[in-house]
């Protein structure tokens, strides 16, 4: 749930130090292979690049002793066989002993020893030339092993077009929405307390007798956020109050600041023991839909599903929903349903509202724009297909390619500096819709060029033309 009015959080997001960061996946994978050779599979031969073992990088691998390197035949571009077939088990054991226990000890609740390693014979075909293969039966997972530079292919359209930009706007009056919703839930009787800022979630209502809370928050000219909590029936009820004295004191102060000194803070002693069976997914969806009817903003046109990733010990089922065919990622609702009904719910409502028709650059221009940092990195756009799971359970819609990497380049005086990059030709383009975060204007749905390359991958670029962008700066 996005709080567009929360400037501090928005600035924190924008200050992400990893913006533009792209790991060298090849060397990373090689480092992992050095720590866990079994992860490559029993019959796979892998070329471990020399740069992993030499120079400054080797100095940052304290657990790689010289004896290990020698045992593996490294130093001039050696090959590491899968642990089962070729590696000295003593070396492997030593490596794991150096690295494993400190981390294993730090993972509470995990058993001290490793679980039995499953038999991996023949699970991954060995490459014919010693270069890592992708594991041909895996589909969907995909990445570029290095930076990519797009080039417009012949025949790529050069014509501009137009497209609509939309935002979420709620016409609801927050106070009226809250009052109507409370009435539908019976949260409007005597004893219910009003708060201007309930637990940092906006204006709200709290019933001390039942521990139920309602809150709404409306960003100026934007979407409306709403939430409900039945704290005394929540499976996490007893954890609502911090266990440490400082935390409890801070919570008490925050509560008093929000509710006044006369309203008692929720007391874990009032937590209820909820009886009954965990609802089935179908029951949970039905209960969520019934509950949301009272909000007046979630209708029959919303798809509600129980994704199934619940903690089975909680006795609750999470239900998630969004309007059918909506590309607004923030237009969602989440409901948690327990044996006695809805325990919590939160969502965002608003109407996709057109800001008008905007000029859209051509696919050729989009290719050039992809090379500009502010579009490929800082103002990336996300499209629904890249955020959803494909039917086969893969994490992206793109294929998993095989690739051959250049040979390692030993440094020599006067050499040209080797820098990995891949020029890819964009062969086609589709105009789709996606979401971007504008920093100062909140989240917008914008036209997006989905640039397609010959290897089946795609790259997205915000498509609104430069003349329709207000580049703002700060002092």
């Amino acid at each position: 749930m996005v709080d567009h009015d929360d400037e501090a959080l928005a600035r924190l997001r924008a200050s992400d130090p990893a913006t533009g960061s792209h790991p060298d996946l090849r060397t990373l994978r090689a480092r992992i292979a050095g720590k866990a050779p079994d992860s490559l599979g029993a019959d796979r031969a892998t070329a471990v690049p020399d740069e992993v073992w030499r120079g400054s990088r080797a100095a940052t691998l304290p657990w790689v002793a010289a004896t290990v390197a020698l045992a593996l035949g490294m130093g001039s571009g050696g090959y590491v066989l899968g642990a089962r077939s070729g590696e000295d088990p003593g070396v492997v054991a030593a490596r794991e002993a150096d690295v494993g226990p400190a981390v294993d000890d730090a993972l509470p609740g995990l058993s001290p020893g490793a679980q039995p390693v499953q038999d991996m014979e023949g699970s991954v075909p060995a490459s014919q030339d010693g270069v890592p293969t992708s594991g041909g039966t895996v589909e969907g997972a995909n990445y570029d092993p290095g930076p990519v530079r797009l080039v417009a292919g012949e025949g790529l359209p050069e014509e501009r077009t137009t497209g609509e930009v939309r935002t979420l706007v709620s016409a609801l009056d927050a106070e009226e929405f809250l009052a109507d919703w409370a009435r539908s839930l019976g949260l409007d009787g005597a004893g219910v307390v009003e708060a201007d800022d309930l637990w940092g979630a906006g204006q709200g209502l709290y019933d001390p007798a039942t521990g139920r809370m309602l809150s709404v928050h409306a960003a100026d000219g934007g979407a409306l956020n709403y939430s409900y909590e039945d704290s005394y029936r929540s499976p996490w009820c007893r954890e609502m109050v911090p266990s440490d004295e400082e935390g409890r004191a801070q919570m008490a102060q925050e509560w008093t600041d929000a509710m006044g000194p006369d309203v008692p803070m929720p007391d874990p002693a009032n937590c209820r023991e909820v009886a009954g069976e965990t609802p089935t997914p179908e029951q949970a969806v039905a209960a969520a839909r019934d509950f949301l009817t009272g909000t007046g903003v979630v209708g029959e046109d919303w798809d509600l599903v129980a994704p199934g990733w619940d903690d089975p010990t909680s006795g609750t089922v999470a239900v998630e929903g969004r309007p059918a065919d909506s590309s607004f990622q923030e237009l969602t609702v989440t409901v948690t349903v327990g044996p006695e009904g809805v325990v919590s719910a939160w969502g965002v409502t608003g109407e996709p509202t057109s800001l008008g028709t905007y000029p859209v650059i051509s696919p050729v221009e989009a290719v050039e724009r992809h090379g500009r940092r502010e579009f490929s990195v800082d103002y990336g756009v996300s499209i629904p297909e890249d955020l959803s799971w494909a039917d086969d359970g893969a994490s992206t819609s793109m294929p998993y390619p095989e690739y051959e990497m250049p040979e390692p380049t030993p440094p020599e005086p006067g050499m040209k500096i080797p820098m990995l990059i891949k020029d890819k030709t964009v062969t086609d383009a589709e105009l789709v819709r996606g979401t971007m975060w504008t920093q100062t204007g909140g989240s917008l749905e914008v036209p997006v060029w989905k640039l397609l390359t010959g290897d089946g991958m795609h790259y997205t670029v915000m498509a609104v033309a430069d003349e329709a962008i207000d580049w703002q700066s700060w002092e």
Binding site: L12, L25, W309
Partner: protein, 180 residues
Amino acid sequence: MAGSLADDDGPAALAVDTRDAAWFDAFFADHATAVHRYFVRRAARDDAEDLAAEVFATAWRRRDRIPAGFELPWLYRTASYVLANHRRRPTLTLISEYGNEQERHTTRTADPAELVMADQEVRTAMARLSSRDRSVLMLHAWEGMDGEGLAKALGLTRGGAAAALSRARARLRQAWSEDH
């Protein structure tokens, strides 16, 4: 499919497919960039690759305990332990690099994430919060964690994570309002 918490003690708590090297390849492809960025945000950039590799090596060893559908939160939680261990390691400092007292006290005890934030106002506000609040906010703002994912990344129940995030956000607003 339903998964359980990685710290459940019961055997066969997960109904998962065979997690072999092919599975690990896909697992790596899916999450390597996210994990690497986690460390770019919190450690010296030169260390990020090693730390990320450590997380995945641990994931390989513990692969049957990774809850299906919550792989990334599990990785973030593991990454937090790897980072904590990394910060506790003694570092060698060349004698020539010892300067005045102020320079010598630029140590790993400072949260590197604070040092790399270019936004001075955000850095100032975050510095007023507890380490715990900062951790929660960074997981939420930079790693995009909330709800069940945040709970698993923090090792809390969902209600506890929601409460922790709510409080952290409230404190950030408060800290922010001191200068605005």
